[in-house]
Amino acid sequence: MSIFVIGYYALLLGASCLAAYFNKRSLFMLLFTLTLVSFIIGIVGGVSALWFVTGAAALILLAGMTAYGFREFLVQILPGEASKEFKTAPLTAAFGMFVIFTYLVMGIFAPLIAPHGEAEVIASAFAPADDTMLLGADQLGRDIFSRIVYGTRNSVGLALAATVLAFLLGAIAGLLAATKGGWFDQLMGRIADVIMSIPSLIFALLMLSIFGPSIPVIIGAVAVIYAPRVFRLTRAVAGNVVVMDYIEAAKLRGEGTWYLIRKEILPNSTAPLVAEFGLEFCFVFLLVAGLSFLGLGIQPPTADWGSMVRENATLISFGDITPLIPAAAIALLTVAVNFVVDWMLHRSSGLKE
C-alpha cells in the first residue's frame, strides 16, 4: 500500500472527524460518504481511480477558491449598492462571472494573447503539442490554442450580436403589443406563432442556403428565430404591468406610448428579461455552434469553436481529446452563463420588495 493511499484515507477520516466535532453536519456527511465511496472505488479502480478523485476534488476546490477570491475582489472594487449585492451572491454565480470575465478578456485581447495568427500554418498537420504549441496543431497545421483564443471573439461575438438583435426585435414588439393591444397585438402574436411553428435549425439552414452564409445573414436568421420567444415573454410580463393603476394614471395624464413603455413598463419588467437574455444567449450560442458544425456558419479560415470541433473530429478515433477542447469551451461558457442567470432569477423572484 502506497503512502498516497494511506495519506488519502487519513486525510478524509481526519477531516470528517473534525467536521463532526465542530457540528458541521452537512460537511461531515459529505466527507464521510466520500470516504465510504472511496473504499469501493479504491478496490474496483485501484490507486489511479483514487488519484482521479483527488484531482477532481482539487479542481472543484480550485474553482471554489477562484470564485471566492473573485467575489471578494468585486466586493472591494465596486461602489456601495452594487458591492452589497455581490456580497450575498452564491459562489456558483461568482464562478460564472469569473468565467465570463476571462472569456471577455480573451475575446477582446485575442491578438495579444494568441501566439500565432488564426489562419497561420506553422507546423505539419496534426502536429503534437510542444513548447511553441500548447495544444498541438489542427488538420492544416495551425495552432489550436491560438484558434481557440480567436474563436472566443468570433463565436461569442456572433452569438452576442444575434441575441441582442433578437431582444431588440422581440422586446420592442412585445412591449408595443402589450401597450397597444387590439389588432396590433393579434397580428404580432400570429407572426410569432408562424415563426415558432418552423423548426429552428431547418429555418436557419433555409435562410443560409438562400442568402449564403455571411455573418449578417447568420445574425439576422438567428435573431428572427429567437425573437418570438422574447416577444412572448415580454408581452406576458408587460401584460401584468399595464393593468396597474399607475399605468392608468399615466394614460389619463395624456402620456404617449413611448413614455409609457420607457418609464413605466420597462423598469418593472427588466428582471425577468435580463434573466431570459442569459438563457437565450446560451441557446443562440449552441445554435450558432451547431450551424458551424454543419458547415453553414462562420466560414473558414475564420476560427470558430463549432467548426473546430468538426474539422478535428477525426482525431477522436485516435484517442486524442483535442477536438473536445473547443466543445469544452462552449460547455463552460454555457454553464457559467446559467450560473449567473440562476442567481439573477433568484434575486428577481426573491423576498426583495
Binding site: M244, D245, Y246, A249, L252, R253, G254, K263, P267, E353
Partner: protein, 560 residues
C-alpha cells in the same frame, strides 16, 4: 356564565421575530393571552400591530420568514411551541380552525364547496363522507345560506362573497373545533353583506360554545362579536378589558385615540346660487364590451369647491361612473360636461388641459404608484408634463407639493414607493394629483385600505386642501362614516341607477329611500347591543342580500 371558567388557550410572554434585511427583528414583544372555553376575544390594532401573527401563533404556526423566539403557547394542556409538526397537524382543522380574510382566495376554485368542507372530517376519520355532507347541509342551514341542500355542490365562484365567507365559517365548524381564529372575516365585504356574516358567525359560535379569537381593525364590528377586547400596538399589548368596560372607559391614550377617530366632521357647504356646475353627468348609460348595462341613466352635478360622495355596495356602478368621467370607458348614451362644455367621451380625444383639470386618487396606493420610480419623479412628472417646469423650478414645485401633503421634502425626495407606509403612499398619490393643478379630483375609495387613524389623517388633509385650493371632490366610498365626515352632497347608487341624491343632512334624516335606509342601518355602531337590536327589529332573515331583494317597489320614494 359558568361555561367560561375553564382555560382553553394560554399564551404567556409570546415573542415572535421576523427576518428582514438579514436580521431578525422583533414583531411580537411579549404578549400574554388567556382564552376560556366558549369565550370570544377581539384583537384590534392597526396594521403591523401583530394581530394576525398572534392569531397564527395560537395554532402553533409561524408564517414563512418568522419564528417563535420565546414564550409559551398552551392549548388545552398541550405546549404548542415545542410540539412536533405531527402533533400540531393533528390539532389543526380538528380542534383549532382558521377563517381567513378573503374566502374567495382561500377556497380552491377547482373543487366544489362541500368537497372542501368534508375534507377535514374525513381526514380525521370523524365522519363518513355522506354523514359529513349531511352535517354540512345542517351547518349551511344554521348559517342561513340560501338552498342549504344544494349550495354546497356549487363551485366557489358560483356563490357571492358573503355566502362564501359563511361557507368558510361552516367549513371551520365541520369538526366542531374548540377554537376558531377569525382573521378579518368581514373586512372585504360590503356593509349590507357584513351583517349577515356577523350574525351567522355569532349565532354559531354561541350555539356550539366555541371559543374564538376575532381579529379586526374595525372597533364597531368587534364590539358586536367579542366578550373581551385586547388592543395591540406594534407587537405589544396596550390594554385588555371586557367589551362593555372597554367601550365606556378606555384607560390608555392610544385606545382613546382609536375611539375618537370617527369624530372628524366638518361643516356642510351648500351649492353656490346661480353658478353652473363644474362637472355634470347627464343621462349616462354605460356597459363593458359585450356585457349588460352597468350604468342606467345616471345624472348628477358637482359644484365648485364641494364634495359629492357616491355610495353604494360593490357592483352598484360607483367606479364605473368615475371611469366614464375620466374617459376610460366612453358612455353609450348621455354626456359629461365640464364647466358647461361637453367633454369628448374618450380620454384619447381630450386636450391636455381637459385631462389636467380632472385628476384621480386610487384606492390601492400600492398599485397606483410605480414602484421603480423615485418620489421626486412621480410627483414631478405631471408638473413637468403640463407646466413644462424644469431644473430648479421643478424641484421647488415638488418640495412645495411635499410640504402641502405634510411630508418632509428632504426625506422623501429620493425614495421609492415600496419604502413608504400605506398612509404615506396615499399622500404621494394625492400630491401627484395636485401636481397637475386640477379643479376636480375623483377619490376612489381612498381610505378603505387604510387603518382608521391613518384614514382620518388623509380625510383631514383632503379637507384642508379643498379649503386652500378650492377643489371639488367626487368621493367614491362604501363607508358611510367617511360620508358623514367629509361629504356635502350624497348620491346613492344601486344596480347602476341613482336611487337617491341630495344634500348630506337630508340624506341622513328620514324618510329615506328603502335602499338608503338599508345601507344606513347596516353600518355597525359602537354600541355592543347594536347587532342584537337590529336583528330583533328587522328579523334574522331580513338582512343583507335578502333585504335588498325585498325592497318594496311600491314605496313612494322608489317611484320618484
Amino acid at each position: 356564565m359558568s361555561k367560561k371558567n375553564e382555560v382553553l388557550l394560554e399564551i404567556h410572554d409570546l415573542q415572535i421575530q421576523g427576518y428582514s434585511e438579514e436580521r431578525w427583528v422583533d414583531i411580537i414583544k411579549g404578549v400574554d393571552l388567556t382564552l376560556h372555553k366558549g369565550e370570544v376575544m377581539g384583537l384590534i390594532g392597526e396594521s403591523g400591530a401583530g394581530k394576525s401573527t398572534i392569531g397564527a401563533a395560537a395554532m402553533g404556526y409561524a408564517r414563512d420568514g418568522t419564528r417563535i423566539s420565546g414564550g409559551s403557547i398552551e392549548f388545552d394542556g398541550m405546549e404548542l411551541s415545542t410540539a412536533t409538526e405531527e402533533e400540531k397537524r393533528a390539532l389543526r382543522g380538528s380542534r383549532i380552525a382558521y377563517v381567513a380574510q378573503s374566502a374567495a382566495a382561500s377556497f380552491n376554485p377547482a373543487h366544489k364547496i362541500i368537497d372542501q368542507h368534508t375534507e377535514a372530517p374525513i381526514q380525521y376519520r370523524i365522519q363518513k363522507r355522506l354523514e359529513a355532507q349531511e352535517d354540512a347541509m345542517q351547518l349551511y342551514e344554521k348559517l342561513r345560506l340560501p338552498n342549504p341542500e344544494e349550495i354546497g355542490f356549487r363551485y366557489p365562484h358560483q356563490v357571492s362573497g358573503g355566502q362564501l365567507q359563511r361557507a368558510m365559517t361552516a367549513m371551520a365548524m365541520a369538526c366542531r373545533p374548540d377554537l376558531i381564529i377569525f382573521d378579518e372575516p368581514t373586512t372585504a365585504l360590503d356593509v349590507t353583506t357584513q351583517i349577515e356574516v356577523l350574525a351567522a358567525i355569532r349565532d354559531i359560535v354561541d350555539e356550539y360554545n366555541t371559543a374564538a379569537i376575532y381579529i379586526t381593525h374595525d372597533l364597531a364590528v368587534v364590539a358586536q362579536m367579542a366578550d373581551t377586547i385586547k388592543v395591540l400596538l406594534k407587537g405589544e399589548e396596550v390594554e385588555q378589558a371586557p367589551t362593555e368596560e372597554m367601550l365606556k372607559n378606555p384607560k390608555e391614550d392610544y385606545t382613546k385615540s382609536l375611539w375618537a377617530v370617527r369624530s372628524f366632521k366638518r361643516d356642510q357647504k351648500s351649492r353656490p346660487k346661480g353658478a353652473e356646475p363644474l362637472v355634470s353627468v347627464q343621462n349616462v348609460d354605460a356597459a363593458y364590451t359585450g356585457g349588460d348595462k352597468v350604468l342606467d341613466d345616471v345624472s348628477f352635478d358637482i359644484y365648485e369647491g364641494m364634495t359629492v360622495a357616491v355610495v353604494g355596495e360593490s357592483g352598484s356602478g360607483k367606479s364605473t361612473v368615475a371611469r366614464c368621467i375620466t374617459g376610460l370607458l366612453p358612455p353609450m348614451k348621455g354626456q359629461i360636461q365640464f364647466k358647461g362644455e361637453t367633454l369628448p367621451p374618450n380620454y384619447r380625444d381630450r386636450t391636455k388641459d381637459q385631462l389636467r383639470q380632472a385628476q384621480m386618487i386610487y384606492q390601492m396606493a400600492d398599485t397606483a404608484l410605480n414602484p421603480k420610480v423615485q418620489i421626486r419623479e412621480i410627483i414631478g412628472r405631471p408638473a413637468q408634463f403640463y407646466g413644462g417646469l424644469k431644473g430648479a423650478a421643478l424641484k421647488n414645485r415638488v418640495d412645495e407639493l411635499l410640504d402641502l401633503i405634510e411630508l418632509e421634502p428632504s426625506q422623501f425626495y429620493y425614495r421609492y414607493p415600496p419604502e413608504l407606509s400605506g398612509g404615506q403612499k396615499q399622500r404621494i398619490g394625492i400630491a401627484r394629483a395636485l401636481a397637475a393643478e386640477p379643479s376636480f379630483i375623483i377619490c376612489d375609495e381612498v381610505t378603505s385600505a387604510l387603518d382608521q387613524l391613518v384614514a382620518e389623517g388623509i380625510l383631514r388633509l383632503l379637507d384642508r386642501l379643498q379649503q386652500e385650493l378650492n377643489l371639488s371632490y367626487m368621493f367614491i366610498t362604501h363607508d358611510l362614516a367617511t360620508v358623514r365626515s367629509i361629504a356635502d352632497e350624497v348620491v346613492v347608487m344601486q344596480h347602476g341607477k341613482v336611487v337617491e341624491q341630495g344634500p348630506k343632512e337630508d340624506m341622513f334624516t328620514p324618510p329615506h329611500h328603502p335602499y338608503t335606509d338599508l345601507l344606513l342601518s347596516s353600518v355597525p355602531e359602537m354600541d355592543p347591543n347594536w347587532l342584537t337590536t337590529l336583528l330583533e327589529e328587522r328579523g334574522v332573515d331580513n338582512v343583507g342580500d335578502a333585504a335588498s331583494q325585498q325592497i318594496d317597489t311600491d314605496d313612494p320614494k322608489v317611484s320618484t
